[in-house]
């Protein structure tokens, strides 16, 4: 298992190659990219901040849950921090499993759960202001 928080652009190929395995036929990847709008409001850029030590711990924890539940072979999670422009990659999750169905399920579980528990924060920057996403009810 490989986990990384980085302020450099993420190379998706690198993350994919980390989970390639001779035992696996299925390899699912989720790439989270910066969208140019949220609820109709134009987004200029995003800024991500992480509590790095804990973020890596929680990534490992959710990866171990996925490993137990779906018997995944390898898992890699890379998350970017700092300022990102539209279309840039914020997160890459890659999972290999012997059969494909499990790779999809584990990959979707990992991104859904990462968004709930991994201590990373996203600020959306608009033309006329900025907001910490999900901070307020």
């Amino acid at each position: 298992m490989e986990f990384k928080i980085t302020d450099q652009p993420i190379n998706e190929q690198e993350v994919i190659d980390l989970v390639r395995s001779p035992h696996c036929g299925g390899l699912s990847v989720f790439v989270g990219t910066v969208r140019n709008q949220t609820k109709g409001k134009k987004v200029i850029s995003l800024e991500f901040e992480a509590y790095e030590a804990m973020a890596i711990n929680k990534m490992r924890e959710i990866a171990e849950q996925a490993q137990q539940r779906w018997k995944t072979d390898k898992i890699a999670i890379y998350h970017r921090v700092g300022k990102l422009s539209v279309e840039e990659t914020a997160v890459v999750i890659a999972v290999s499993t012997p059969h494909r169905k499990e790779s999809f399920q584990a990959c979707e579980y990992l991104i859904d759960t990462l968004k709930q528990v991994v201590p990373i924060w996203k600020k959306e920057i608009y033309e006329d202001g900025e907001i910490w996403v999900a901070a307020h009810p």
Binding site: E49, A53, H79, V91, I111, I120, W132, A135, H136, P137
Partner: protein
């Protein structure tokens, strides 16, 4: 005892710094610390949630804090 609390995201903006040094009573619990912070910084009341992490994991309210714990304030996360 003295606590040093790491601050992230909107918590950093509310407090106005990357960490907060606090003098608290011995055996202060997570829940007492949260209550104290809400009193000093009322803007925390407006957040969807506010949690405390102790040594890189979420801590329950009854956990008793120690001086050398790594303590962090965790506003609603929004990674991914």
């Amino acid at each position: 005892m003295k606590l040093n609390i790491l601050l992230f995201g909107i918590a950093r903006d509310i407090v106005g710094g990357a960490s907060l040094a606090l003098e608290v009573e011995e055996k202060t619990t997570v829940e007492a610390l949260i209550a104290h912070l809400h009193k000093v910084y009322p803007d925390f009341d407006r957040l969807a949630s506010l949690m405390i992490a102790v040594n890189s994991d979420y801590a329950k309210g009854e956990v008793v804090l120690k001086e050398n714990d790594e303590i962090a304030l965790i506003p609603p996360v929004s990674g991914g």
